[in-house]
């Protein structure tokens, strides 16, 4: 499904200083895998995830999606990739602050030119799968709790039925029970529909749900282990 080769990401700060957030990371993820990425805060997990989501470019190294180098994609091909293949849950959620919950979730379908009737059905399904109560659908994001916003962000990532789901700490704001609902949703998508899932987490128990754990420290891959055979 995807492969990173020697990916380096260097941030240049305002005063000209450089910071290497990723120092040459390489790995491969096959179709249908469920991978957890772990590592201490600031180790470069989100940075890596953005590259996997085709949202940011590596400073050097290459990222292959279905054996095609993403660096060779045109702007429009990148948009199609993000729209049709990838569902991304941001660590900061990134919802449209002025749109209602349901509109936020329907937005990817607008760009995918899904029929208007179908949009609402699919958005409702995705929101239910993410565990959000229907009474919240017409709320604005600022009228929701942190955990509810997180579930909206997850629903938005699922609504397009992407083959690759990238979730940056999707359960960080959730209590054990809701966290479990979300993880079970991911697991079901992975096992029943064969979707590839990569999620970032700090919690061992969450990582237990995955078949593979990639550990990162200071921008380097330190461990890559299958938890189940």
């Amino acid at each position: 499904m995807l492969e990173v080769k020697n990916v380096v990401k260097t941030y240049i700060s305002g005063d000209g200083g450089q910071f290497q957030a990723l120092k040459g990371v390489s790995f491969k993820i096959e179709d249908g895998e469920f991978v957890a990425i772990m590592g201490p805060s600031g180790s470069g997990k989100s940075t890596l995830m953005h590259i996997l989501g085709a949202l940011d470019n590596p400073t050097s190294g290459a990222y292959f999606f279905n054996d095609k180098n993403v660096a060779d994609f045109s702007e429009d091909e990148l948009a199609d990739l993000r729209k049709n293949k990838i569902g991304f849950v941001f660590q900061q959620f990134n919802l449209l602050p002025r749109a209602t919950v349901i509109r936020n979730v329907m937005l990817p379908l607008v760009y995918a030119e899904v029929e208007e009737k179908e949009r609402e059905e699919r958005a409702t399904l995705a929101l239910k799968a993410a565990g959000l109560e229907e009474s919240r659908f017409e709320h604005r994001p600022n009228q929701l709790s942190g955990g509810q916003v997180q579930r909206v962000a997850i629903a938005r990532a699922l609504v397009n039925n992407p083959v690759l789901i990238l979730a940056d700490e999707p359960t960080g704001n959730l209590d054990t029970k809701t966290g479990k609902i979300v993880l079970e949703t991911f697991q079901k998508l992975n096992q029943e529909q064969g979707r590839t899932i990569v999620l970032i987490t700090h919690e061992r128990e969450v990582a237990q749900h995955a078949g593979r754990v990639i550990s990162i420290r200071d921008g380097e891959l330190v461990n890559d282990a299958k938890t189940r055979v």
């Binding site: 702007e75 948009a79 729209k83 002025r98 749109a99 937005l107 607008v110 760009y111 030119e113």
Partner: protein, 407 residues
């Protein structure tokens, strides 16, 4: 993205940011309506002034008495009260100035005029048969004063329509009736046609009588207050003016033209002076309007720029979920265009209403020009599009993460 969705997104974006949309539109409305109204008022003032200048006649030279000035000191007397021009001067002009097409001396004064119990205070002008031709007056009913009236010292009068209305009421048949001026009865023989406007004393509110009659019965002397000389064409005006000046200086025994006891006014000079005044006036109004446009523009700019951070993050987000660069460009362009057009439309209507109101209140006959509409619309559309669309375009070129991180 479908067009209908694009429209909906635009509508959602505009209605979700009501304050922003409102203030932006307000800026455009103020800018556009003030430009349109100001230019319409300026143009209207120009038109009104030119009309009233044209209405006093064409190719006219007016000779008027001036203050008698002795060497070394000046006696300032009011222009109308100076008595330096006589009937003899007028006759000399008629005889000597062969280039002149027509000459019409007049003597005017304000008198209390009565008719059947009603009375009014109006201008009574003693003049000659050439007057209507020289001063561009048409006869509506009856006739104007004739040579016979002049020779016979006839007590006849021709009324302006306003004077007629004041004395007899609107639409009343006045020809044949009599009016009294200073106890003397005058028979009405004609009514002049309405000229409208005003400016140099409305010719609608006047009563014309033979000049000989006026001199004998009303003034009691043979002075005249104005001699209107009409040139054949505009080219000969300067020459006629010079000849008249020479003739009158000679007749009055004045050797230094600086000490002339009369003034000659060339209509071309009046037109030129008036148009330079109205030009200045229009420029002044345009400057005021320009300032409003700039202020409105800064308002728009401010609104657009303060939301750049928020909008840039929004663009990053839209790109992250699969929006194409063109879709984003187009959405933000639609938004900027919708705002400017809505504001522009309201602005044009408001500007037009203001101009209409000014006309309706009888202050001025305003004229809304297409140029001002295009100018105002163009400027605000440019501002709206530059400041609404351009930052969005730049943000759409960023990769999603950079746009999302924009501070």
């Amino acid at each position: 993205m479908k067009t209908s969705d694009m429209m909906q997104e635009t509508y959602m974006a505009l209605s979700a940011n009501k304050a922003r949309s409102f203030l932006t539109i307000l800026g455009i409305v103020i800018g556009i309506s003030s430009v349109i109204a100001m230019i319409a008022i300026g143009e209207g003032a120009k038109g009104t002034i030119q009309n009233s200048i044209q209405s006093i006649g064409s190719n006219l030279i007016l000779v008027m008495p001036g203050a008698q000035r002795g060497p070394g000191f000046q006696v300032s007397a009011g222009r109308g009260s100076a008595r330096t021009l006589t009937q003899a001067d007028a006759d000399a002009i008629i005889k000597e100035i062969t280039l002149a097409q027509a000459v019409a001396p007049e003597i005017s004064g304000r008198y209390q005029v009565t008719a059947k119990g009603k009375n009014t205070n109006t201008s009574v002008v003693g003049t000659v048969p050439a007057y209507p031709a020289v001063r561009n007056i048409q006869i509506d009913q009856g006739d104007f004063i004739s040579e016979q009236h002049l020779r016979g010292l006839s007590k006849v009068a021709v009324l302006g329509p306003t004077a007629r209305d004041d004395l007899f009421g609107e639409g009343v048949q006045a020809v044949g009736q009599v009016i009294r001026v200073r106890g003397i009865e005058f028979k009405i023989i004609g009514i002049t046609r309405t000229k409208g406007g005003g400016g140099f004393g409305s010719q609608d509110d006047m009563i014309f009588i033979p000049i000989s009659t006026a001199q004998k019965f009303l003034a009691g002397d043979s002075y005249v207050t104005t001699i209107s000389v009409q040139a054949k064409d505009s080219q000969s005006m300067a020459e006629i003016q010079q000849e008249i000046t020479g003739l009158l200086l000679n007749r009055h025994n004045i050797s230094d033209p600086q000490l002339a006891d009369f003034n000659t006014l060339n209509q071309a000079d009046i037109v030129a002076a008036a148009s330079s005044v109205t030009q200045t006036f229009t420029i002044l109004l345009a400057a005021v309007a320009g300032i409003s446009l700039v202020v409105g523009g800064i308002g728009i700019m401010n609104m657009m720029l303060t939301t750049v951070t928020e909008r840039t993050r929004e663009i990053g987000l839209r790109k992250a979920i699969g929006a194409k660069r063109n879709e984003i460009n187009f959405q933000f362009l639609t938004e900027a265009v919708a705002l400017t057009f809505l504001g522009g439309l309201i602005g044009v209507i408001l500007g037009w209403l203001i101009s209409f109101g000014v006309t309706r209140l009888g202050i001025l006959q305003t004229k809304v020009s297409l140029f001002s509409i295009l100018l105002a619309f163009g400027v605000s559309a440019a501002i709206g599009i530059i400041f609404g669309y351009y930052p969005a375009r730049r943000a759409a070129a960023l990769n999603p993460i950079d746009a999302l991180r924009y501070e």
